[in-house]
């Protein structure tokens, strides 16, 4: 265990050191994130100026959904970048995944340590700032339960998106042509749950509730934290499903990942 932590720490340290050489890219990304932040608020404010609300939700409430997902996705992207399906597909195609299998370390640990894109800090800060503004505007009634629940939601979302990344990476063992299709679920999913689920058509909403359980990761936690009624009348314990959906998906993804490595070892490239 100590060995794993130590190696992970070293792999990340090495990534940080390597990226210090590209300071310009880092600063540009932060600047881009700041601009995006203003544009987002500008666009959203225009929408709210015209319609007053979005599906009955105020600007601050939607900003809460948006900021939370943005923060979680950014943190996930920082830690799970080695599994980014596009990059990983390249790795498999170029044969450099073999180099990973040649080292006496778990491939999962090596990929977690294979990339740590600091420039994603832009997105993380942006998500954090929007979440913070939303919380400041909302004037929530905090209970100890809610205080403990919010970080759990964040971690569950990281696990959920990480799981989607791992599933996407694993699929590239079979085909690299479907990366765009996989991105619909990861990037598309994160965009989708940044808005209240009840604004979507029933089919889409059900798909992202029961097939890909994305709704349990942001919408239902928000209903609970913001004390809003559930328009779909799911049981009161539904917010408890957040970690189940997040870590359940991550667990399934890791099983699939193992299966994929076994497939890779039987076919090569």
């Amino acid at each position: 265990m100590w060995f794993t932590v130590n190696i992970y720490r070293r792999l990340i340290a090495v990534q940080l050191k390597a990226q210090l050489q590209y300071r310009a890219a880092f600063l540009l990304e932060i600047a881009a994130a700041a601009i995006t932040l203003f544009m987002f608020f500008g666009a959203l404010a225009l929408v709210f100026h015209r319609f007053g609300q979005l599906g009955g939700w105020s600007l601050a409430e939607v900003a809460f959904l948006w900021g939370l997902v943005e923060l979680a996705f950014g943190l996930m992207d920082l830690t799970f970048s080695g599994f980014d399906p596009g990059d990983f597909g390249q790795r498999v195609r170029k044969g450099s995944f073999d180099q990973i299998l040649l080292r006496p370390l778990s491939p999962t640990l090596q990929l977690l340590g294979a990339d740590f894109p600091v420039r994603r800090l832009g997105r993380i800060i942006q998500g954090g700032v929007i979440l913070w503004i939303a919380l400041a505007l909302l004037d929530l009634t905090w209970t100890p339960l809610k205080l403990a629940y919010l970080p759990l939601v964040l971690v569950s979302q990281i696990g959920f998106f990480g799981g989607l990344f791992i599933i996407g990476a694993t699929i590239t063992f079979w085909t690299v042509e479907s990366i765009e299709a996989i991105n619909i679920f990861t990037y598309g999913g994160s965009e989708l749950i940044a808005y209240p689920m009840h604004i979507y058509p029933a089919g889409l909403r059900r798909f992202f509730t029961y097939i890909i359980p994305a709704a349990f990761l942001n919408y239902y936690p928000a209903l609970f934290l913001l004390d809003k009624p559930d328009p779909f009348h799911l049981p009161a314990w539904t917010p408890c499903l957040t970690p189940v959906a997040g870590f359940g998906l991550l667990g399934l993804a890791l099983l699939f990942w193992r299966f994929g490595i076994r497939y890779y070892q039987s076919t090569g490239t």
């Binding site: 190696i7 990226q19 044969g95």
Partner: protein, 340 residues
């Protein structure tokens, strides 16, 4: 006790059949037909600790499939492999901790990091004791002349420098077995020679077993006592390079500068391979006629100014073996010279 024992190793791949035309490609979206390809088709061999083996074969012969199985990257379709007491793909992580592998086309080092930092990271990954790491690094720095670029990021290294760094990286943990896949590809003569000397050193001084695949036959000629040749998934030759050359190397050449432009420079027992004015190149079979007999016959008819005997070149021999499939026609030569 052999360090590698391979018995009836097989690896089949399924390759999707290409369907013709628009209808065909539409159909292949739904049902794909597969054709089995026998990449490795029943090969067996044993390697003793401390051997330095050249593993040869034309492209697509099954060479890299064998190496991938031996390094634990691929699971075979059939047969048995025991390396260093492990079944490579079954106990991969424990197994790879005791081997080193360099694939000439790729690097195991971190692209953006100075070489020394990659090596330091490997020290922790392989849990190399500090003293062993220090001693090995000092030795390899000198033998591979790493000092000039130890602090250069890997992405800025020349091919030869990168290869030296990679070979160093593969040996820091004192592996029992070293796999080298095309370690001299694309290098100049000096760089090649330096790497060959190092491989010989590691093999002789440390007793590390080395398996070398290469296209460069001078690597093999200079380094390997034993050679294995694979083609179409089958082992066609396993023995000394000399035995191969003796059997197929065949023709030696005699290059003669004649004193005059003789219209017919022919003699019995040799054929004229090439003629350029007064310079004539004769080819002859060593079994049929000796060089001195041939020289005697030529000088009896023509006046000779100068001459040189050229030995058959292994490269040409091996190429002939591949192209004319000589081993398939005459039957494989296995286990000659006391191997197996």
């Amino acid at each position: 006790m052999s360090i590698i024992k391979v018995t009836n190793l097989q690896k089949y791949f399924k390759v999707a059949k290409h369907q013709r035309g628009l209808w065909g490609s539409l159909r292949s979206l739904i049902t794909r037909e597969y054709e089995p390809v026998r990449a490795v088709d029943g090969i067996s061999f044993e390697i003793q600790p401390g051997e330095l083996i050249g593993y040869l074969g034309p492209n697509g012969a099954g060479k890299s499939t064998t190496i991938k199985i031996l390094t634990g990257l691929l699971v075979p379709s059939g047969g048995e492999v025991l390396v260093n007491g492990y079944v490579p793909w079954r106990e991969r992580r424990r197994y790879v901790a005791r081997i080193g592998a360099v694939f000439g086309q790729r690097t195991t080092l971190w692209w953006d990091l100075p070489v020394i930092e990659s090596l330091d990271l490997l020290k922790h990954i392989y849990q190399i004791p500090a003293e062993q790491y220090r001693r090995n690094l000092a030795e390899f720095r000198e033998l591979l002349q790493l000092d000039a670029f130890l602090n250069t990021p890997v992405r800025s290294l020349s091919l030869g420098q990168r290869m030296r760094a990679d070979i160093c990286a593969a040996l820091l943990h004192n592996p029992d077995l070293l796999f080298l896949d095309e370690p001299t590809i694309g290098l100049d003569v000096v760089a090649k020679e330096r790497i060959r000397q190092f491989i010989r050193h590691i093999n002789q001084e440390r007793g590390t077993t080395v398996i070398l695949t290469t296209h460069d036959l001078s690597d093999v000629a200079k380094l390997c006592r034993r050679v294995m040749i694979i083609d179409r998934g089958q082992l066609l030759f396993d023995g000394r390079l000399g035995a191969l050359q003796h059997r197929f190397g065949g023709r030696r050449e005699l290059v003669v500068d004649l004193a005059d432009d003789y219209p017919h420079a022919g003699v019995d027992g040799a054929r004229i391979a090439h003629r350029d004015g007064q310079r004539v190149t004769y080819q002859f079979e060593p079994g049929h006629i000796t060089a001195s007999e041939l020289i005697g016959r030529i000088s009896a008819r023509y006046r000779i100014l100068d001459l040189a005997v050229r030995e058959p070149d292994i490269e040409a021999t091996i190429r002939r073996i591949y192209e004319e499939r000589l081993l398939e026609k005459t039957g494989p030569m296995l286990g000659s010279n006391g191997y197996r």
